[in-house]
Symmetry: C2
Subunit: 225 residues, 2 copies
Amino acid sequence: MKIAVLGTGMVGQAIAGRFAELGHDVTVGTRDVDATLGKTAPDRMGNPAFATWVATRPDVRLATFAEAAAGSELLVNATNGSVSIDALRTVDDADLAGKVLIDIANPLDYSQGFPPTLFVKDTDSLGEQIQAAFPELKVVKALNTLTAPLMANPAQLTAEHSVFVAGNDADAKRTVGDILASFGHTDVIDVGDISSARGTEMYLPLWLRLMGALNTPYFNVKVVR
Amino acid sequence: MKIAVLGTGMVGQAIAGRFAELGHDVTVGTRDVDATLGKTAPDRMGNPAFATWVATRPDVRLATFAEAAAGSELLVNATNGSVSIDALRTVDDADLAGKVLIDIANPLDYSQGFPPTLFVKDTDSLGEQIQAAFPELKVVKALNTLTAPLMANPAQLTAEHSVFVAGNDADAKRTVGDILASFGHTDVIDVGDISSARGTEMYLPLWLRLMGALNTPYFNVKVVR
């Protein structure tokens, strides 16, 4: 499948790399290609810059958001939540129409330091804001509840763990469920329409406290029933 | 131990019953004893009225919040989150001083219908509000992330699942951890100081969506690491 992964951070890298490994045709989208390739310092978590990472991945292309989306059959939003809607606004409407968007972004606000707060919550969500701004997209909120390496390679944890999909289009959720299964996810729970993104986004504060308590981001939850 | 369980709903009943089974001396606190004993209709979820339930439990006493707290060594807040602080204000300060309070309440606001929103979140929490209002208490947020029968009897799910404690006092968290272990909880995770109640309370919207998706409240999460 031709896939556009919007965002060059650790989520974008993990997802783009996994799609490429699985044989898909992957283009990563960024606001400014030259600026992205010009940054070589690791981020504050020590993750490699995109330019460093992509140099080892000849199977992954870099383009603008608009160019990446233009040729794609499926979109992934792996941008920072605070710029997701602006990023999507740079894409031609015709290149969004009818497509599935996997929205992994979280509405994290670091302006008051760590832990971040959420800039939208409880009565609305980033997933809903994206769906409302781009009604022609079929937005499926997914994978925003675990660390990037585990999104892409869930078998790094030996015990089974759960991921969630939320969206208004049943076929789009099935498509995303199949993709998550191809990554190795074995317990994908459909939590409802896109308003259920409120639930998965508001889980982030607990996730952040657990990361502190466990001293690692390499964990996830299994829904036991 | 002499325990006061404040609140007569399904959480209060489940916790009071479990403590009594385990040999503790349990008094349930309510605002108005006669009013509580006068209500015999099940709640809207079909759970028995307190009066019906307590008639089968001669080992559990009913008293006012203040009377229940007066004789207790440990307090449990199982009231509706919207009235928790008012309930505690009816207790003499001297009967709170130095005691551990297990805070199970959630800040659910049903005024806009179902699903409820949270009346405090993200930059504050009900657990913190209670700790701030009653600095003489040692508040430990716990058990607010699963359905009442599973709080009290976790072994009703065959696979292991996790519960969280958050509070400022390490000894109080150890005390609560021992109590949770006596209930049968085998994975109690200390998520940090009382501000971590933001995380466990903000998990409720996901819990509610999962309850809808799974069509049962009999589930919990296991933190897989």
